[in-house]
Amino acid sequence: MAPLASDPLGLAIDTTFDDTSVAILRGKREVLANLTLSQFKDHEEFGGVVPERASRKHLEAIQPLLAQALTRAGVGFGELDYVAVSTVPGLLGSILVGLTVAKSLAYLLARPLIGINHIEAHPYANVLAHGELPFPALHLVAAGGHTLLIHQTGHFQWSIVGRSVDDAAGECVDKVAKMFGHAMPGGPAVDRLALTHAPAAHRFPRPMLNDPGLDFSFSGLKTAVLYYRRDHGGDLEEGPVLSAFFDAVIEVLIVKTLRAARRFRPKAVTVSGGLAASQKLRAAFEAAAAEAGLRLLYPPPELCTDNAAMVACLAAHRYAAGRFDDLTLDGRPNLLD
């Protein structure tokens, strides 16, 4: 193997969930391209090769996205120093498409292959935005099907110290939004309403708040909103109700995160994942972190949702450490086995 490049050019692919994402990164932080299929509203941008814009169409989307990413970054395949891909967690059939493309690239270009845990990569959106993380760090990852508290003592050294035992927070928000007639994903709509409406007087339950552990539960909160809505029927104003509901979600996330911070005494607390794009959540977290004297980091909204740039960023750290995978790398649907 050739000696490691000091300012490596990396390519990362993520097909773990609905979106197909490709990113090209220079060094550890310079994003040269960060494309997701759902960004492309106009098929013309795709250079005539038009995959149907639908979820889980990774095979049809990935080659045009690769070509587009190279063009945006102004580089060729031959200049890449490594190829990274998310291999866990997600729908196995989807993961394997990205994984096979990444292996083929690594093989054809004779470059290292780096398999990445998509969840581990989420906090690295903060590295892109703010620079290297101080360790130990505590991460709240609120993404797709997961709500997790992660304690990280160094690169590649992390453990899950708290997690949702039923629905993820973002899922709870999406499902409550859908109850009120908002399209999935409903997070942005709830955030907007919560910012512009004072919460209703009704206090929704804060599940597991008084449980001394660091796990979350959101299924019961969703049910509480359902009952409240059913019992109040037509004369319900959605803004104040959703605002009160969102306050409950945010309070649970903050209280548990602060509890974990007291236990692990991190040098920084990060918030990432789709829900971290919420303005109301950010404001509340900022206030709480300031009061507790914690350093809080969250990425810009475009790096909160699933993207391959964060995957590339973690991969760049793996490259620097010389930690590569071989071509028998496999995908795994579950985060925890």
Partner: protein
């Protein structure tokens, strides 16, 4: 001189073949289940090395585009498309029914059918005549065994199933008239033959990236009725 690679991961087998200067230079036909992703690249590497080639010598990639296992089909096609993209070489797609049909070589006036039973009562089928390669008489359709009898009648067939035959009761595929086979498996050497034939018809292209064949409409048509 043509160096070419054929990849088929549409079934439970990983099937690969390499052509070196017009001559078969090695093949693989390995049972692998869902592990195709794990072994496909290493097997390709072993095959190319054994043939004294590198990937960069390849001038043509041939890939099976289904119907078959969706995940399997995507794995082979993802690999083939990436090879085509990086090497800037054409990728030719061949469907799995033509591949089945190529296992036999009947007289030119015989109409025969290729049948592929992927799951339970779902059968993909297409009718062929032989003219150097099997030439399809119509598009691939998906149907049930009941309806298949009406379509196929007494015509001879080449048949394959992915799932094991039903443990109790007769294999519905055995009710059709099987044809003598010139090759025991619909392997990647046959795939190479078909891809090469297609390539030689229009060696100047164009070569649009092949698309996977997903036919599962029958269950949904029935549902809507």
């Amino acid at each position: 001189m043509t160096h070419a690679l054929a990849i088929d991961t549409t079934s439970d087998y990983l099937s690969l073949a390499v052509l070196k200067g017009e001559r078969p230079a090695g093949s693989r036909y390995l049972p692998c289940g869902v592990k195709a992703t794990q072994i496909v690249i290493q097997e390709i590497d072993g095959l190319l090395t054994g043939a004294g080639l590198t990937a960069h010598d390849l001038e043509l990639i041939v890939v099976a585009v289904g119907p078959g296992s969706f995940t399997g089909t995507r794995i082979g096609m993802a690999a083939a498309a990436t090879f085509g993209q990086v090497l800037a070489r054409p990728v030719i797609g061949v469907d799995t029914l033509q591949l089945l049909a190529a296992q036999t070589e009947p007289a030119a006036d015989v109409t025969f059918h290729a049948l592929l039973n992927c799951a339970r009562d779902e059968v993909y089928h297409a009718a062929y005549r032989w003219n150097g390669v099997p030439v399809a008489l119509g598009p691939i359709a998906m149907t049930t065994f009941g309806e298949l009898h009406r379509v196929v009648g007494e015509a001879p067939v080449v048949a394959r199933r992915f799932d094991p035959a039903p443990a109790n009761g007769e294999d519905p595929l055995s009710r059709f008239d099987p044809m003598p086979l010139r090759r025991p498996h619909p392997d990647a050497e046959l795939l190479l033959e078909l891809g090469l034939a297609r390539y030689r018809e229009h060696p100047a292209g164009p070569f649009p990236l092949p698309q996977p064949i997903y036919l599962k409409s029958e269950a949904f048509r029935k549902w809507r009725r």
